[in-house]
């Protein structure tokens, strides 16, 4: 089905574009002035979700059942009273960082990942949430989950296996990939083959830093991650990972990664300079695509700024539908490609900082 709406989560609200006669047109903004760091449209319930990060008033969760015409605030996930991160620091939600439904067999289940590192589930489509105790109490958490760009470890990726909804992966910065096969009762790290060059032991089982974890829609056994220390792919459901970073090329550090809907060997990344600088590589934007599972990469620049450019693309700010891709940048540029990332055009140069981009 053709997706002809773009939801853009920005520092100043949720911006909507719609495709009309081949052109993408600005439709409007919700939550003007309030950071909207993530949106999610649940195809099972047709509910739209928006994660807000008020500077003063905390993180809020809003839902819309009429395609964004009206929004209702619902009670966001909350850590139970006296829940401790560690060393006496109480756990409070700092960021709502990942949203997913629970899969086709659990139509009213909603999963939300947060900083600091808690996974919450709702069995009544957001009416109430419960912390997944098993993951929160995982023996590795207190000593081997670290803060990265944020103060504490956070869950930014949730993948529910469409074949078995009790089979779930989460991606955690900084801890790694964790998997449950029993609906969240028990969790195991799945980080073999990853590298953490910021740790004394780069091969550590826990303490890896996936920036985004995704699965190929056409083959749930194929997982991809844009990691702090390269790009990695697994063909066996995370049992082992291969470093598919581009040797000598730009496809190495970044945040976002998108997988082709039909071909499990095709994916795109938007490189940045690691990791102290966090700007576009050589002050130029490019999108890199592999079509052979990461053996080779091509970088595409047509239509993207190639000088005096400092944009980077956050982890949820790249999306693909069919042959169309879109990404938004930290300096408010929104780019779109209709030819699988080979050429690009700017939809806007004037948006606020962009946190997330999604086709619906």
């Amino acid at each position: 089905m053709s997706k002809e709406t773009l939801l853009i989560g920005t520092r100043k609200g949720l911006i909507t574009y719609k495709k009309s006669q081949g052109n993408w047109k600005y439709q409007g903004i919700s939550f003007l002035g309030i950071p909207v760091n993530l949106t999610y449209v649940d195809p099972l319930t047709n509910t739209w979700w928006a994660c807000l990060d008020h500077g003063h008033w905390g993180c809020k969760l809003h839902k819309s059942v009429d395609q964004g015409a009206n929004w209702e605030e619902v009670t966001a996930p909350r850590y139970p009273e006296n829940t401790e991160i560690k060393n006496g620091e109480m756990a409070t939600v700092k960021y709502l960082w990942a949203v997913s439904n629970g899969g086709g067999n659990k139509p009213n289940e909603l999963l939300i990942g947060t900083e600091p590192g808690g996974l919450f589930s709702s069995s009544d489509n957001g009416g109430s949430f419960a912390l997944n105790d098993s993951l929160w109490n995982h023996p590795s958490r207190r000593d081997y989950w670290f803060g990265g760009g944020r103060d504490h470890a956070g869950i930014h990726s949730i993948i529910v296996d469409p074949r078995d909804n009790d089979h779930i992966y989460v991606g955690i910065s900084v801890a790694g990939v964790f998997e449950t096969k029993d609906g969240g009762t028990s969790w195991e790290p799945k980080n073999k083959g990853l590298k953490a060059d910021f740790l004394p032991d780069p091969d550590a089982e826990v303490g890896q830093d996936p920036h985004l974890l995704i699965a190929s829609p056409s083959n749930p056994n194929v997982l991809w991650q844009q990691n702090h220390c390269g790009i990695f792919r697994s063909e066996n459901g995370g049992e082992s990972w291969s470093d598919i970073s581009q040797e000598g090329g730009p496809a190495y550090f970044g945040f976002a990664i998108a997988a082709d809907e039909k071909d499990d060997k095709t994916a795109w990344v938007v490189p940045a300079v690691s990791d102290q600088l966090r700007v576009a590589v050589d002050n130029a934007l490019c999108v890199c695509r592999t079509e052979d599972g990461g053996n080779t990469w091509n970088d595409f620049r047509n239509g993207l700024p190639q000088e005096s450019c400092f944009d980077i693309v956050f982890r949820h700010a790249l999306d693909v539908t069919n042959d169309t891709l879109a990404f938004g940048t930290t300096t408010g540029n929104l780019f779109l490609s209709d030819d699988r990332g080979e050429s690009w055009r700017a939809i806007s140069h004037h948006l606020p900082l962009i946190y997330s981009v999604s086709f619906i």
Partner: protein
């Protein structure tokens, strides 16, 4: 009775917000009191552990409260309590 007044910025989320009269004895009890009238507003002011949010200030008269963790500062009849957003970022 103490009077509780709010920053106008909270009216975006609670359009009917207006000064409240209360017999509450502490700041924490004030928040419980206003939560009854404006469900959910407490979550804008404190986090789930009951601690004052980092960028929110509460004054009793002209004085900032001293206990931002448990909000135990006493409130007496005639006090004016202000729930304000902190200025941060210039």
């Amino acid at each position: 009775m103490a009077t509780v007044k709010f920053t106008a910025n909270l009216k975006r989320f609670y359009p009917h917000l207006a000064p409240q009269q209360t017999n509450a004895g502490t700041v924490a009890e004030i928040l419980d009191h206003i939560e009854i009238t404006f469900p959910g507003i407490k979550d804008y002011i404190v986090n789930e552990q009951g601690q004052l949010r980092k960028h929110v200030n509460i004054f009793i008269g002209n004085s900032l409260i001293s206990d931002k963790m448990e909000l135990s500062d006493p409130v007496k009849s005639g006090d004016e309590v202000y729930i304000m957003q902190a200025l941060s970022g210039g």
